[in-house]
């Protein structure tokens, strides 16, 4: 009955059910994602995907690609969801639900915003209600199959995300319970995302494609297309096919009682989250070493002791591209020591292949220790003169116990968005997304993002609507 249970909860969900912290967490999740979806457009993946699809497969323009939002560059809702989904994840800078390592906002928001713009007349409360329904759906589902589903190699952000997107879009469209069950079924049968593709353009493709898959599920179900009323729990349905463990009914029993979105966290660094404590440790080591008058070029070896999952997910020793660098704890430690920061600028192809960075990376030795938590790390650097500088990160910044402040989140947003929109429009975009819950029509949001001739973009405007 899990599918019916989920659909029943989502159909009955109302804005009045939310506490203030739930609403605040939803708004933060959305604007943090929007900043990523704007800034992420500086990577090549979203532009390649847009050029390969929109001129050939784009329908009437109704929806915004956030980084390109203006009247002449809107596209259809399917392509907008696809491109925003890619752009919002490509920097590995979006949000994280730590218990499942799911990045929950991208799939749901990409689909939902595109449909809200297309359909029009969706107010902020309706939008947030649908968004929270989708996020809770994917996260409860993710918990129900964790960690077996992840351990076999699935990228659970997208495998659960298409179902979250289907729930959110179905909610926005006002589908009834059995119709939403059919939509969930169509989403269930499209399982997108494997970990082999981490470090390539395809990792962010997962989010865009899952958003499309969930959206098409809702639209087909709305039109009477049949799938199954038990897409999740049936013997040959989602849960049993993709996981050796499930307790989906138990997790769904907590829907509306415990809100997973309250456990959502926001990254200080644009890379795999399990390497964040090591990066913060390296940054602290640099700060201390510089304070002692040491020179970072005198480092002779670096030791890090980390949670075992760190090497499973970010164990690349010799990354060759910026995207690969996002999955190399060795790279993360090296740039932390050299630059004292880890921003998108330290995860470019040029920095990843820079000879100084590469040389320091080769001095980094990482050992794993199951007693070290995932938000914890020990980093030490040995210098030529025999000095050893060690730092212990107990709760990494960005973790639940040490979250980014509102000011830090704003700085992060402006830092990303201004790269594409310029400073003034980035401020406007920040105002718009932080105010999304109060809008009378969410489709007006694109007006805040209008780009006027930004030469930094790799996208060929002339080609878009040919």
């Amino acid at each position: 009955m899990a599918t019916q249970q989920l659909a029943t909860w989502a159909v009955n969900l109302q804005y009045a059910n939310f506490t203030a912290p739930v609403i605040a967490a939803a708004v933060t999740s959305l604007y943090n994602w929007a900043g990523c979806a704007i800034g992420g457009y500086q990577q090549t993946a979203p532009g390649i995907a847009l050029n390969a699809t929109s001129p050939h497969f784009g329908g009437p323009p109704t929806s915004s690609i956030l980084a390109l939002a203006n009247d002449s560059t809107q596209t259809d809702a399917q392509i907008a969801a696809f491109i925003n989904g890619i752009a919002g994840h490509v920097d590995d800078y979006d949000d994280t639900h730590l218990a499942t390592i799911i990045h929950p906002t991208g799939t749901v928001a990409s689909a939902l915003l595109a449909v809200a713009e297309w359909k029009g007349g969706v107010n902020g409360s309706e939008f947030l209600t649908a968004f929270i329904a989708g996020v809770e759906a994917e996260l409860k589902l993710g918990l129900s199959v964790w960690p077996q589903h992840y351990d076999v190699g699935w990228h659970d952000t997208s495998t659960t995300g298409s179902i979250g997107a289907a729930v959110a879009v179905s909610k926005l469209l006002g589908l009834d319970v059995p119709t939403m069950q059919q939509a969930i079924g169509i989403a269930c049968t499209q399982v997108i995302g494997m970990q082999e593709f981490f470090g390539s353009d395809t990792k962010s493709f997962h989010i865009g494609r899952a958003a499309q898959g969930g959206m098409i599920g809702a639209l087909l179900a709305q039109s009477g297309f049949t799938s199954s009323l038990q897409g999740l729990e049936a013997q040959f349905g989602w849960v049993h096919v993709v996981s050796t463990r499930e307790n989906v009914t138990a997790e769904f029993d907590t829907l509306g009682q415990s809100w997973e979105i309250l456990s959502n966290t926001f990254k200080p660094y644009p890379c795999g989250i399990v390497m964040h404590p090591s990066i913060e440790g390296a940054i602290e080591v640099q700060s201390t070493a510089l304070g002692k008058g040491l020179n970072m070029s005198d480092i002779t070896s670096v030791q890090a002791r980390v949670n075992p999952e760190t090497l499973v997910l970010t164990g690349q020793t010799d990354p060759e591209t910026g995207l690969e660098g996002k999955f190399s704890v060795y790279h993360g430690i090296a740039i932390g020591l050299l630059f004292g920061e880890a921003t998108p600028s330290q995860f470019t192809d040029a920095i990843v292949t820079n000879s100084t960075v590469v040389a320091l990376r080769k001095l980094v030795n990482v050992t794993t220790d199951a007693s070290v938590r995932e938000d914890e790390a020990y980093v030490s650097a040995l210098f030529k003169d025999g000095t050893n500088v060690t730092q212990h990160i107990d709760h990494v910044i960005g973790s639940l116990d040490n979250p980014l402040s509102e000011a830090q989140l704003k700085t992060k947003f402006i830092g990303q968005a201004s790269l594409v929109l310029g400073e003034a429009r980035a401020e406007k975009a920040y105002e718009a997304f932080t105010n999304i819950g109060n809008m009378s029509d969410v489709s007006t949001i694109a007006q805040f993002l209008i780009v006027v001739g930004n030469s930094a973009l790799q996208y060929d405007y002339a080609n878009l609507r040919s």
Copy 2:
């Protein structure tokens, strides 16, 4: 190295490598599928899918929906592949590779024909070469994970089919080996299709969506989008994530040595293939009984002894729709006994819920016997007067040992296509598809299919390009 091995083989494949039987099998596979894709449009699923997508997400018209092919109803290649994929499978009347129960043509042909029409200038030899490359890829891959992958609940037709479609479209586009590897990777990470959705519209959605997924993989890779060079064999890649068993290198070693397309079979009945022997048995029982002057309304009980897989896949005792009837051996036996045939007309909602059919269905008892082969069945009917009529089907019609003749295949094609195109155009379509290997430009094929005002179609023409 499996991904590279597959791509290397496909890139180097030439028309001259094919024996005459391989070419003949490819052409038969294609025209058998085309008949299904035309006739299948009488079901509701393709029209619902078209109406839910094309008006909103359809790009410039370049490619044909076979049942609707004429200048004003072309759509873009993604939507054409989607709709032809659905229409070609919705009747469960397409081809079957018995060793994997994969229906190989739908995914590959849907994607390939749409791209060939879009790009233009593809001759028949090039088209067949790309088609065979895709079919061999998906079937060798299917063999490498059979039966574990299927037994867990995946619909292997579509899970392997997206990869076959990626190989075929990549071949048509002339991608080099590493680029085709990237395309295969993008297809790998989109796993479409679970058995829970058999008997619903979503079963055929699997084929359309997998065709789209493979096509987008090839197009993105062509544009420089990265995925992985080891999408199939990597620890967290396709083979290990979706199956507990793999021997993909061993299967790929036989590429070009043994041709799987030579083992492709064509269905005499539009339903799950494992119930075919029972249907033929029932038809034979009717023929014998009528010859003895018996009345089918005097049947008091029916016994069938079948291979165990029959009840696993077609064990529905109380189907309520035409699509569900396709997965009910009980329905198949009932209509065989009552109508002496099993055509699309016996798998409508009306016939499945007809009281005479339902009453006879309830008299059918099916037992399984592992010593009965999958192409074998025993069916017997007991009549009021005590007469027992029994038939043993040793090799069901349509099996490798008892294939449909060319004349029977033509009758099947015309029977399907004439429902939509009318008799005269159905003949033309038959000529076109059987001649596809000799065409100088495959994109001209749509000219043979032009529909002029066919009121039998449920599709709303006026709405298509609004």
